[in-house]
């Protein structure tokens, strides 16, 4: 593999183990800047593990161990002494279940900037408004920023979580099946939003929804039993896959 100019993340020979069990087996991928990369594959194939190894959320699982390297803008995030807090500022994450904090809408979005030391009220106001606008939620909540985030609908909560992630100004946003708990309308809104966000962010999304992957992503990686079977432009993966297993999965013959 040759280095591409706009390569954001370069994953080399990444393997992840939970105790003795191998969850990821020797993954190498290059993920481009300002693109949406979709990770597809049957449950338990390692997509989420892969996603969580990109912002070192696997560190929180005691049994997990990692081999190989993940280069973010040319720096290995698994190098000794790499600042994990700084990494997670640059690589944000949105989870499968919307998980707003039991705080007001404003405090949810301002959470990240605050813990990173921003105290100035005007500056926070600005970040909150920008982030909510970027997450296409501003119109719906601008008049009730001080209400509890738990009063929002599921789809709104998920967009709030995206706004919360954007507020720390990351380069990369990881999304773990962000729409699987939402109804079709809310899902459509999230998809539109992601297409809009990719102008400024590198987006990596795990999804079980083939149409969704086909609709919004530029590249697609098909995971199977902890390996990447096929990785390439989404059009090619969906129309002319090289591997029989990819074709079988996409056409719904297994999974």
């Amino acid at each position: 593999m040759t280095d591409r100019v706009n390569c954001k993340l370069k994953i080399e020979n990444l393997s992840v183990y939970y105790d003795r069990e191998q969850a990821l087996d020797d993954i190498s991928m290059e993920i481009d800047c300002r693109e949406i990369t979709a990770l597809i594959g049957p449950s338990g194939c390692g997509k989420s593990t892969f996603l969580r190894s990109l912002n070192r959320m696997n560190d929180e699982i005691k049994e997990a161990s990692v081999e190989g390297s993940v280069m973010l803008d040319g720096e290995d995030i698994y190098e000794n002494g790499y600042n994990v807090v700084e990494l997670r500022k640059r690589v944000g994450m949105v989870f499968q279940q919307p998980n707003p904090f039991p705080k007001s809408i404003y405090d949810n979005v301002a959470y990240g900037p605050r813990i990173h030391g921003i105290r100035d009220r005007d500056e926070l106001d600005e970040i909150v408004e920008e982030s909510l606008k970027a997450a296409a939620l501003w119109e719906e909540v601008s008049d009730r920023l001080n209400q509890s985030a738990l009063d929002l609908s599921g789809g709104q909560q998920q967009r709030l979580c995206i706004a919360r992630a954007i507020a720390v100004k990351p380069d990369v946003i990881l999304l773990d099946e962000p729409a699987s708990a939402l109804d079709p309308q809310a899902t459509a809104k999230i998809e539109d939003l992601l297409t809009e966000l990719k102008k400024n962010y590198t987006i990596i999304i795990v999804t079980h929804n083939m149409q969704q992957a086909a609709r919004i992503s530029d590249s697609t990686a098909f995971f199977w039993l902890g390996r990447v079977v096929e990785y390439g432009p989404t059009d090619k993966i969906f129309e002319r896959p090289d591997d029989q297993r990819t074709e079988d999965y996409i056409t719904g013959r297994f999974g």
Binding site: K62, R88, F95, N99, P102, Y111, A165, V168
Partner: protein
């Protein structure tokens, strides 16, 4: 036949439940009937007089309140910090299991044994003597298992998704705990702690040899002075007085005041929990 058996079972269960209620009502009724008459403003605000056959129990009320304050100052901060460590920091290894087992066992140690411990450590070794401080520390140690367990359970009931959300935004572990985990856990921590304190307020054995006085009509003027306390005063009036039948009404009055005090603490805990948890409802 089947129906008959079901009914018998149902009534057995219901009677058992009602029995608890009956015992409580009988107990409260008995104490109110026999002790309610002596309670007036003078009883609550003046010291015992004429060999405890007259006057009130004010020093005992004040002593119990002081004692509870010291107990709280020991048991609540240590309990909360211990709970945070066990829930958020400790890895689930041998040491943690040992600590947890010790806490469980500590909770099961009879209170008189804590009294002996208090004499050995606080009264003699640290030289605090028979004092409010020795007794308060002893009660604090006794309450510690309750506050640690309550704190740990309250923290554990906070959904993991909050932890993940905070960490994924680049929070350090302590930032995550302070801003996302502690606030929703506070109601549970407080409720558990107050219930533990209420129990400690009614204990006699741990203060028996650590500082409670037979008669000490003045309020304690420092943490190192002896004091009167409601449960110990009750014990004296009921068993140690030279004219037990004459002071019986005062004994019942003391019991009633103690029960009301504990009840206020418990109801306070319930109200506080309701108020706070409405702010963090999930």
């Amino acid at each position: 036949m089947q129906n008959w058996k079901q009914r018998l079972g149902f009534w057995t269960l219901r009677t058992s439940a009602l029995l608890v209620l009956a015992v409580l009502i009988f107990l409260l009724g008995d104490i109110i009937l026999k002790g309610g008459g002596v309670i007036d403003l003078e009883f609550l605000s003046s010291p015992p007089r004429q060999g405890m056959t007259a006057g009130g129990i004010f020093p005992a009320i004040a002593g119990t309140l002081y004692l509870s304050l010291i107990t709280a100052l020991v048991a609540v901060p240590l309990g909360v910090m211990g709970g945070i460590y066990l829930s958020e920091y400790a890895s689930q290894g041998k040491l943690t299991r040992l600590i947890r087992m010790s806490i469980r066992n500590l909770a099961g140690v009879p209170s008189i044994v804590f009294g002996m411990f208090g004499v050995a450590i606080f009264v003699n070794y640290f030289g605090f003597g028979l004092s409010l401080l020795s007794a308060g520390l002893t009660l604090g140690i006794m309450t510690l298992p309750v506050t640690i367990t309550a704190s740990e359970e309250a923290l554990k009931s906070v959904p993991d998704s909050y932890r993940q959300g905070a960490l994924a935004l680049g929070a350090t572990r302590w930032q995550m705990i302070r801003t996302c985990i502690l606030p929703p856990a506070v109601p549970g921590m407080l409720t558990g702690s107050i219930l533990g304190l209420a129990r400690a307020a009614g204990e006699t054995a741990p203060i028996l040899f650590t500082g409670a006085a037979f008669l000490h009509p003045h309020l304690p003027d420092s943490p190192f002075s002896q004091f009167m306390a409601l449960p110990y005063h009750l014990y004296i009036l009921a068993t140690q007085h030279h004219d037990i039948s004459r002071v019986r009404p005062i004994a019942y009055g003391t019991a009633l005041v103690l029960i009301i005090l504990v009840l206020i603490l418990n109801i306070g805990a319930i109200i506080l929990r309701e108020k706070l948890s409405r702010r963090y409802r999930r």
